[in-house]
């Protein structure tokens, strides 16, 4: 039942676009179902009072990790291009993008 699902098909389409996916109607529908179920489960977090809690985005406690401004060896052009068949004159080649 579409009404009970957390996500609408439009929302799923929007997410797919942001994620650079081209999904078929079948896939959209499948993901709508599965993602909605997962999101419903995730709702339990709302029960937790986090009003005075700080976020943890890093667990190492490290700070100020830097590198020196020094030139190191780069890959060769051949190595850089070695994993694509779409190349031309040392460049990667893609379908035209209108600027």
């Amino acid at each position: 039942m579409d009404k009970q699902k957390k996500l609408s098909i439009n929302q799923v389409e929007h997410i797919a676009k942001l994620a650079n996916f081209h999904l078929s109607k079948k896939e959209l529908s499948k993901f709508q179902r599965q993602l909605s179920e997962i999101l419903s489960y995730i709702e339990i977090l709302n029960k937790v009072d986090t009003s005075k809690i700080k976020t943890t985005s890093q667990v190492t406690g490290l700070e100020n990790v830097f590198k020196k401004d020094r030139v190191e060896e780069s890959l060769t052009q051949k190595e850089a291009l070695s994993n694509t068949k779409s190349k031309q004159n040392g460049y990667f080649k893609v379908k035209s993008i209108f600027e």
Binding site: S57, E63, D69, V71, E72, F92, S96
Partner: protein, 440 residues
Amino acid sequence: MTYLPIIGIEVHIELKTKSKMFCGCEAKHFRIKPNTHTCPVCLGLPGALPVPNRKAIEWCCLIGLTLNCRVNNESKFDRKNYFYPDLPKGYQISQYDMPFCSNGFIEITTEEKNKTIGVTRVHMEEDTGKLIHIKDTTLVDFNRSGVPLVEIVSEPNINSSQEAVAYLKKIQQIVRSLDVSNCDMEKGSMRCEVNISLKAEKDKGLPKYKVEIKNINSFKFVKKAIDYEIRRQTEILKKGELPIQETRGYSEKTSRTFSQRSKEEAYDYRYFPEPDIPPVKIFNTEINQWKKGLPELPDDKKERFIKIYGLKESEAGILIADERKVKYFEQLIKLNLKPDQYRELATMIVNKRVNIDKFSPTSLVDHIKKQRVSKIGDKNILEKLVAEVLLKNKKAVSEYNAGKHEVLGFLLGQIMKKSNGRANIQMAKNILIEKLKQPA
């Protein structure tokens, strides 16, 4: 109905560090063979991780300090997620809510009016690769990917194209004085994006739309693009419509802006803190060290030239706008000449009466000295010179005697020419007048 242009400018400055922002590849990318300054990190290969360049961060903070910003004690990097072929990781490492510097300002001058433009923030990010469009293909070169960029965001309190250009020129001047970037619009080491909307007089608050103009590569075109946009948006508003919120480019050919809707408007970048880079803490002791080590800024230099060397405001202004001229003048200062000589030298440099590429500061001073010392002040020699000139220019003499006294200038000129500029003008003039009084 008058409309006030509300303009905000984002400037991107390419730092001239030796290596890139998050890896050890050489940062140089101008006229380098494609994809030869890349590595797993800046190529976005699977498994690669970023490590921030300390010098780049320091230079970002220096720029912030020169723009009167506060350098924040705590900052971090964030991921800005979007897809584009020149963005190898599918996200750009940038800064979102905790930039290195914030809340600054600079003073600009337009038509003798001073104005303060706010600088909202100065932060670090990495550059993307370069796209080259040929017929129906697009080629990608990642040499530029990962080069350190400092982004300077102004408050939207710029209200004209002149102010916009003055702002940009000032930023360029300041950043160049730090020697952290070549800051060259034509070569792309300084880029700007102009956000412009128009506010009706009666409206309170900012306009409900914003047009972004990108890819303008000279100050001249910035002015033209803004002027065009003001006209374009005024026409739309007059019709009672709202200009579309979009990104536009500028065409040098047509001197107009045009819509570039290939990118999404109001894209959702899904910023979140960069988990691969620990946060950055900058202590006040370090900030104070940086403050102490800052070079003299253009405005302070100008003040100094005016106060100590008596330069005219306008000349001082022109001098500081040209790095080469300033350096030259500073070298002249080291020669400890008499104060009033500096005023004269400044005028010579500003009026381009001396070729500073040909003459080194010391040789220039010598040359001028020679000219003065070797001025012919000997009365006898001068009298001989004057006599020779009068002999050769009998027509002019008759004209003078007939009342055409302006001929005197011509005759003086001839004397100067004959003496290779060495004649003492005042003495020569006196002798000339005397001689002209005498009968031939």
